[in-house]
């Protein structure tokens, strides 16, 4: 079952967050923690542009028990292989997929977030988080500033 012709992308994928900026060295939470109650799948897309000499980028999905990030911890196996300027990784586009069953639901971890770590030098980064496979559609579109159809 693919995306139906009759469904807009924005009807079936809820925007959980996005950012595009030059990131200095540091550790960031690029997403506000969002509930996955209405979704069974999610995806975090990251596009890295120029990387300063010696720069590295790590990205991992996190889970928490509420929207404030209580009890935040990693989701096993949901981290990219580190991108390095030295390895020629500028211009990389990476994606992390997640299913709600991969979260610690028994422990009440129903909120999805992420941790972005930039080290060694600054990097230009674009991030998009989308939640799909929704129990009810169309999904909320309030996070988009404009949709042209």
């Amino acid at each position: 079952m693919t995306q139906a012709y009759t469904n807009r992308f924005t009807e079936v994928h809820e925007l959980f967050g996005a950012d595009a900026d030059a990131y200095a060295i540091g550790v960031y939470a690029p997403l506000v923690y969002r509930s996955m109650a209405n979704h069974q799948r999610g995806v975090l897309l990251m596009h890295v542009g120029d990387m300063e000499q010696g720069a590295t980028v790590d990205l991992a999905l996190m889970q928490a028990t509420d929207a404030a990030g209580a009890g935040a911890k990693a989701i096993a196996g949901k981290a990219i292989t580190q991108l390095t300027q030295a390895g020629g990784d500028a211009g990389s586009t990476v994606v992390i997929e997640v299913r709600t069953e991969e979260m610690d639901v028994d422990g009440g971890f129903a909120f999805l977030g992420a941790t972005l770590t930039v080290a060694g030098g600054a990097c230009d980064i674009g991030i998009f988080a989308l939640a799909g496979c929704s129990n009810y559609s169309p999904v909320s579109v309030t996070a988009w500033d404009e949709i042209v159809d």
């Binding site: 079952m1 693919t2 995306q3 139906a4 012709y5 009759t6 469904n7 807009r8 992308f9 924005t10 079936v12 994928h13 925007l15 996005a18 950012d19 595009a20 900026d21 030059a22 069974q40 799948r41 995806v43 897309l45 596009h47 890295v48 542009g49 120029d50 196996g77 949901k78 981290a79 990219i80 292989t81 991108l83 990784d89 211009g91 990389s92 586009t93 990476v94 994606v95 992390i96 997929e97 299913r99 230009d124 980064i125 674009g126 991030i127 998009f128 989308l130 799909g132 496979c133 929704s134 559609s137 996070a143 988009w144 500033d145 404009e146 949709i147 042209v148 159809d149």
Partner: protein
């Protein structure tokens, strides 16, 4: 019909083009590659803008052509049909926009089956953009443009 639980996002949505995250110093016009829609019925051009420079503007739109080189490129329908204008003076910094398209909106009778996303930048605008194709005739779609897929 929504995304199936058994399908990865990257199995049903093909990453077809990007504009690298960077601060674009206008005036400049940037394009994603022109991509063939033969195997897709839908797509979306997503643009995320950072903090816009003073008095900067950004026009985001789609163009169609008859081949991958952009031959005879033109807008899809009227120019305004697939156009978003962002202005720093209007407080549009950090906006996220989506431009959806269907193949039936292209001028298929004249052989237009390629599409690209484009941005026209005036002033300094940090942005990142993705062109994703969906509604695919055959699954799974190619994943060659992804550097890494973690699943």
């Amino acid at each position: 019909m929504t995304q199936a639980y058994t399908h990865r996002f990257t199995e049903v949505h093909q990453l077809a083009g990007t504009l690298d995250p960077a601060t674009y110093n206008g005036p400049t016009i940037e394009y994603t590659p022109y991509v063939n829609l033969a195997h897709h019925q839908r797509g979306v051009f997503i643009v995320q803008v950072g903090t816009m420079g003073a008095a900067s503007t950004l026009l985001c739109s789609l163009v169609q052509s008859t081949n991958a080189n952009g031959t005879d490129a033109k807008s899809i329908g009227a120019v305004a049909d697939k156009l978003v204008i962002l202005q720093q003076t209007e407080g549009d910094g950090n906006d996220t926009i989506a431009i959806e398209f269907r193949t039936d909106e292209l001028d298929v009778n004249a052989g237009y089956c390629y599409i690209a996303g484009t941005v026209h930048v005036a002033g300094d605008v940090p942005l990142s953009a993705l062109l994703l194709l969906g509604g695919s005739n055959q699954l799974a779609v190619p994943t060659a443009m992804w550097t890494q897929i973690v699943d």
